[in-house]
Amino acid sequence: MIKIRNLCKSFQRPGEARLKVLDEVNFTVDEGEFVAIVGPSGSGKTTLMNILGLLDRPDAGDYELHGKPVAKLSPEERAKVRNEGIGFVFQQFHLLPRTTATENVELPLLYSTRSDADIHKKAREALCRVGLEDRLTHYPSELSGGQQQRVAIARAIVNDPGAVLADEPTGNLDQNSGRQIMDLFRELNQSGSTILLITHDPAVAYMASRVVQIDNGQLTQAMARVAS
């Protein structure tokens, strides 16, 4: 599903030495896996996530997503891949304010060619899958943090992307809501979604079926466990 080879990314800040954030990274995620990437802040995990999500481009290296090379796509083609092949979940939820839960979930579908009726139906289904069937017309400001993150997850899966990328999805939640979100990810994984999440929290990473450590721009296999 996700296959990267010799991926490099560095940043140049004026007056500073060139910083190698990712250095010859090789990494594979198979279909149906639930992988957690852990690492301290500044270790390059968000940069890796942005590249995997086609929000950012690598300086060098190959990237194959769903069996297709995507490293050299044009911005328009990358937007299409993001729309159809990837779902994002962010730490700050990034829901549109003054916009209902359903409308937030519909957002990715607005950039597709689906009919309005189809869009409404898919958004409702996605919200049901995350357990928010009774919050369809609520605004983000009327929802708890955990519920807002569920809306964001519904948005990530609404277009059946195959891969869900989550960047610190529990970072803004209390322990209890965080657990529920992780349980939801596991449910989604069990029903077929490939999930890749980054976190600095070992307890969160423990819920994944495989954990990968990133440090100083290098990936190391930390541990493998089978989901219970």
């Binding site: 999500g53 950012d56 911005p75 993001r82 962010f90 700050q92 549109l96 957002l107 607005l110 597709s112």
Partner: protein
């Protein structure tokens, strides 16, 4: 995003942020209102002025004004020129008090002759015009304008009643055609016409007439005829070659040209004012949209993350500024019409709203919307989603 979704989401944003949309709209609304009000009032005013000039001049006429002009001068001109088919004097007096049964009005008094209805293009709607007999005998008869009639008599019949002009009694014999306010701003429906001989003897005691009008047979020759009139008058007034003339001559051709020029100038000024306001409006919308882009960085980043292309982000902001501007334009048309009809009502001008002005207003507001949206849309489209989502 397809067109309908774009328009739908633009409308939602416009409604969601009402105050902001309002401030974005003001400039365009005022600019379009200027255009609409200016062109409908201006067009109406120009039409009215043309009508008044037609009324004053008519085709193929020559107007003479001079402080020396007396009736024999006018007669001499008419007798020496075969092409003059009719002529009539007009003595204009300063405003005088006109009284009836204790009601007192100030009114402009004119001395006229029996053929003035034809030559000066103004007749009566009720009663009779001044006759040759009235002029020969210097009868104390008067024609009054419709507004003066109303001011003095209200609904009662005025014909046959006796009014006092400067304490001299006159019998009202006719009511003049209503022609409204002239280009000088004088209400011609407050006029009083009396036989010229009566005016000269009873009201001013002078044989000067001041104004005369000639009707010539060939409309196209009116400028050449005017030269000949000037020649005759120079001789009669004994003005040597090179000395300044003590009379002024206007022709219907000259007046028509002046009216066209005035109309053009008015049009240019209105356009200029509207363009300036719309330019300012574009700057206002543009700067507010730039702030909106800054405010919505996270939203733009998110939209890009879920699959919005640069083009669809740009289209969203362009669509929003264009719709705001278009709505403002429509409001501006309504506002302009309201202002125009208020002015038109107040100054008794016909309203002249052309389809061209409305089309122009709509096009201008769409153009302002698009132009002012370009820079913000480009900025939004170029946002790096990684930075935008941070």
């Amino acid at each position: 995003m397809n067109g309908i979704r774009l328009i739908d989401s633009s409308f939602r944003n416009i409604v969601r942020f009402k105050l902001r949309s309002f401030f974005m709209s003001i400039g365009v609304a005022v600019g379009v209102a200027t255009l609409i009000a200016g062109s409908s009032v201006g067009g109406g005013a120009a039409r009215k002025i043309s009508a008044q000039i037609d009324q004053m001049f008519g085709p193929g006429t020559i107007l003479i004004g001079s402080a020396e002009l007396k009736l024999p001068d006018l007669r001499a001109v008419a007798e020496q020129m075969d092409q003059v088919v009719a002529y009539a004097p007009r003595l204009m007096l300063s405003e005088k008090s006109v009284q009836f049964a204790g009601t007192n009005q100030q009114a402009a008094i004119s001395g006229i002759s029996a053929n003035s209805d034809y030559v000066w293009n103004r007749s009566v709607i009720d009663g009779r015009f001044v006759s040759d007999r009235d002029v020969d005998r210097a009868s104390r008869v008067a024609l009054i304008g419709t507004k003066l009639k109303e001011a003095l008599f209200a609904d009662a019949d005025a014909i046959g009643e006796e009014i006092l002009i400067d304490a001299v009694p006159f019998e009202v014999v006719g009511i003049l055609d209503p022609i409204g306010i002239d280009p000088h701003g004088d209400d011609r429906d407050m006029d009083v016409y009396v036989p010229i001989s009566t005016a000269q003897r009873r009201l001013v005691n002078s044989d000067v007439i001041g104004n005369g009008k000639l009707v010539v047979s060939n409309v196209d020759m009116v400028d050449q005829d005017a030269e000949q009139v000037a020649e005759i008058l120079r001789k009669r007034f004994k003005i040597a070659e090179g000395e300044p003339e003590t009379f002024r001559i206007y022709t219907s051709k000259f007046a028509g040209k002046a009216a066209i020029k005035a109309k053009r100038m008015l049009g240019v000024y209105i356009m200029l004012a509207a363009v300036v306001v719309l330019l300012v409006a574009a700057v206002v919308i543009s700067s507010i949209m730039l702030v909106v882009v800054q405010e919505r960085i996270a939203e733009i980043g998110l939209r890009k993350a879920v699959g919005a292309t640069r083009r669809s982000i740009a289209a969203q902001f362009l669509c929003e500024s264009t719709i705001v501007s278009l709505i403002a334009g429509v409001a501006g048309i309504a506002l302009g019409l309201a202002v125009a009809s208020a002015i038109a009502h107040r100054y008794d001008i016909p309203l002249n709203l052309t389809p061209l002005a409305v089309t122009l207003a709509v096009l201008a507001s769409v153009l302002v919307g698009i132009v002012s949206g370009i820079i913000p849309a480009r900025q939004a489209a170029n946002l790096d989603p990684v930075k935008a989502l941070r």
